[in-house]
Amino acid sequence: MKCPKCEVNHPAKLGRDCVCGYRFILNPKVDMISDYKMKILVQKASNMDQNFFTFDHLYFTFMRTYLKPTSCLIPIIIITAVLFGILALANGFMIFELYVCGGVFAVLYIISVLVRPNTKKFKKIYPRAKFLEFFELWDEFYKTEKFISETTMENPPPDWKEQDIYDYGVNSIVIVDDDLTVDYMIKNETHTSNQCLILSENGYPSYLMGIAKDIREKSSEIPVYYFHRYDPNRQRQNEGLDADCWSFLNGKYIDIGLDEKSVNEIKVLKDLKFGKNEVIPLSALPPHFLAQSMSLILAGELVALTDLAILGLNPEIMGVMDFG
């Protein structure tokens, strides 16, 4: 077992305590994942402890890592190189060996892509509930500071001594489909970096609904964006934001959520090989992809989530991202 603290291999027979003092919590033979892999996953999901993340983010990070098409590449290269070595030793270096090995490489790679497990298989091998159980076990011992497990913003902030805190409005209002996503975005400061008010479609947090209404009343030009999951049962855009609390919008909002087109065109989603009838949450998008897309959409540089997938991180459009 590789120790996440000192990165030295620790023989299982020596017990659960590494010489560096680290206590192993998980047993990879039983618990589907090792301490080391869990730590790497947490680091990935939290962007090296810089961002907050939910369990969904962690699970999709795990899935993305597992289903990565290049994960088979190294073994294939090794097999091909060994084959080349054997042929070269037996016959001396000949050009046909290169062709043979090239062919073997291509065949193996195609097979690896074809037999690569899809999301369904992944979920079978690593059930979500079971993975959560192991993560909680690990998290209980090695508290992950950036992990968000529940909503925490139900109560309003204190009364501030300055009276003008709410007076200046925002650049846009963002509605997301899940309360926990609001916490996730606020803790990662999506609202401040995009100067927007973020609420859920349920009207969470409720004490800000009056402010949202007020902002829209003062200026109907302030755009309202609706970011939501992909739901195969949804027939068309601008359907779904039907909670009473949003009736004051009169249906005037920009639907920027995941639709069939985005699911088919965004490579990072396609790689996850979702089933046809699966609901795909926003958390399936890599956090940096969602954050960057949102920033560009809110700044008026892109109009849909698919755009960033098509354009990539082109320096010409990244001007609105604060990279200076």
Binding site: E162, Q163, Y168, G169, N171, Q195, L313, V320
Partner: protein
């Protein structure tokens, strides 16, 4: 651009000429040399600039030394004697009524007072050294004095990585201090120093009852006056970014009937730029627009030189492009207007994010405002402990070092409005320690006198007086500026959100600057200096281009600037 330097107290250091040797870039035209039992000082001005007031006026035991330009005084001030008489009559607080870019030293029999212009355009540093107070326009002049121990101020190093500049009085060098704006340094006859606040900006009656139309009209008249009062008897240029602030300065110049050439900076066509906006503004004003493209291969040979001119390290990546653009423009002009000041004075970006930090209900840490303000800079605030060697930070209260400069502003009951509190921080810290010194030094090093009408002290006072909703309303920043110039500048410039000058350091450090950065941060040098953790620098250097939000390029730029500064100033490497 001029320089002032000298010593006050029991004059043991009789020879201050070596101070001039390192300040020649600020001018070599001697305006005045003064020597008495208790003070030795010199004032020099730049050959290219008209600074008629620079010099020393003596009256018995008293004297007034002035270095820089005076743009406005409520009374007629045609020579230093006029100014001396007014200060003698009204007290040093009279400075608050002036507008200019100057350093002033006023000596009476009881004490000597040193102060900056009210906005903080000019800077002065000082040090209590060998029983006397040495002062100079730049720290390098104090460093040139024999026996001065060159040591990094550890608190300043942490602040540098959080702010990208040094707010407040501490400089990067231990025992050299920068005089904060709005504050005077008093030195008594026994050489004791005391800082005394004279600015009354925070006491201004806020939110006076006036309509938006009235505010706009008053702003417009005052703004034109600020431009005109700066206009020299020489031709001028304008640094035109294509943003709102520099465009309205250009429009103001044209309203006053002045012609000028405009210069616009960009970083090659593959990077996002604002040339089309700059060109559309220049076309509408009927002035020439000269685009200036800058790539690392152009500025790398001059990088050390530019950082040496910065004096105290400033980690904002726009510094060096500003230096190169100034060098280019100095072939034609000695005076260049700019749009600095619009953001800090009139509700620019970063104010709404600070408001939003208060909107949601969650548990907040003690001093959360200070913390959030620091985070809002988006520099290396969260990186400090992973970046700097723990031994170097030993026994240092890092949190306190970082938050202390902000605390007086957040804890004060004045100004009443939170927006005005933020503005005051931006003017006093970012303005007086980053924006204004940066342009002054980068342009001054190339013989250009920067003209920043939007940072005029009269506009600062005006901005605190008007209703805050005239600055920021319904998410619209700098509303009053937009209303004043609606229809006079291209609509696209008014409508588009602020984007600022984006320097593509994120890409450069993976491409053109990669090898250079690796050579500066080689393991041996980093470990010998003992300041940074090599492991973290190595991680930063090998970032993934896609992780744009971690701003690795910016962090590396701050590191690079500091490291070059350190080699020049601490290790005394030659240019």
């Amino acid at each position: 651009m001029s320089s002032i330097f000298g010593v006050i107290g029991d004059a043991k250091l009789n020879n201050i000429d070596q101070m001039q040797n390192v300040l020649t870039h600020r001018g070599t035209k001697l305006k005045s040399k003064f020597k008495s039992d208790v003070a030795i000082l010199s004032v020099f001005s730049h050959e290219k600039h008209q600074e008629p007031l620079s010099g020393v006026y003596e009256s018995g035991e008293n004297f007034l030394a002035f270095s820089g330009s005076l743009f406005f005084a409520p009374e007629d001030v045609s020579n230093l004697k006029d100014l001396y008489d007014l200060i003698l009559k009204n007290g040093i607080e009279y400075i608050n009524q002036l507008s200019g870019s100057f350093i002033l030293l006023f000596k009476t029999s009881q004490k000597t007072i040193i102060c900056r212009d009210p906005a903080g355009e000019s800077t002065i540093v000082y040090s209590t050294f060998s029983g006397q107070v040495a002062f100079a326009s730049e720290a390098k002049a104090i460093l040139s004095l024999p026996g001065f121990k060159r040591e990094i101020d550890r608190g300043s190093l942490t602040r540098y990585f959080a702010y990208s500049f040094l707010p407040g009085k501490a400089t990067m060098l231990k025992n050299i201090f920068e005089l904060p704006a709005g504050v005077v340094l008093e030195i008594d006859s026994s050489g004791r120093t005391n800082l005394k606040k004279i600015s009354t900006v925070d006491q201004i009656e806020e939110d006076v009852d006036m309509s938006l139309d009235e505010s706009v009209s008053e702003f417009h008249q005052l703004f034109l006056k600020c431009i005109e009062d700066r206009y020299p008897s020489d031709s001028v240029g304008l640094f035109l970014s294509g943003g709102l602030d520099s465009t309205i300065v250009g429009a103001g110049l044209r309203e006053l009937g002045h012609s000028f050439k405009s210069y616009s900076l960009y970083f090659g066509k593959k990077y996002n730029h604002e040339l089309e906006f700059a060109k559309s503004a220049a076309d509408l004003m009927n002035v020439e627009n000269i685009p200036f493209s800058l790539e690392p291969k152009t500025f790398l040979p001059n990088l050390r030189e530019a950082i040496w001119y910065l004096d105290d390290p400033i980690g904002d990546p726009i510094t060096i492009p500003n230096y190169e653009l100034s060098k280019f423009a100095s072939k034609e002009f000695n005076y260049i207007y700019n749009g600095e000041g619009g953001d800090p004075l009139f509700g620019g970006p970063k104010n709404i994010p600070m408001m939003l930090h208060h909107w949601y209900g969650y548990e907040r840490e003690e001093n959360f405002r200070e913390k959030k303000y620091l985070e809002s800079y988006r520099r290396a605030y969260s990186e400090i402990e992973s970046l700097i060697n723990p031994d170097f930070l030993k026994d240092l209260d890092v949190e306190e070092e970082l938050e202390a400069p902000l605390r007086p502003y957040f804890s004060s009951s004045r100004p009443h409005k939170f927006l005005n509190k933020l503005m005051l921080i931006n003017i006093r810290l970012k303005g007086a320690h980053l924006i204004l010194p940066k342009i002054k030094r980068m342009q001054g090093a190339n013989g250009i006198l920067p003209l920043s009408p939007l940072f005029d002290s009269r506009l600062i006072e005006f901005s605190f007086r008007i209703p805050t909703s005239h600055k920021l309303q319904n998410g619209i920043e700098k509303l009053i500026l937009k209303e004043a110039y609606k229809g006079k500048i291209p609509e696209g410039i008014i409508q588009r959100p602020k984007s600022g000058m984006r320097v593509p350091v994120h890409y450069w450090f993976q491409k053109e600057l990669r090898r250079y950065a690796k050579s500066i941060f080689n393991k041996k040098d980093v470990e010998n200096a003992g300041i940074f953790q090599y492991k973290r620098i190595k991680e930063l250097l090998s970032y993934d281009l896609e992780s744009i939000q971690n701003r690795y390029g910016l962090k590396l730029w701050m590191l690079l600037t500091f490291e070059i500064w350190r080699k020049l100033n601490i290790e005394k490497e030659s240019l």
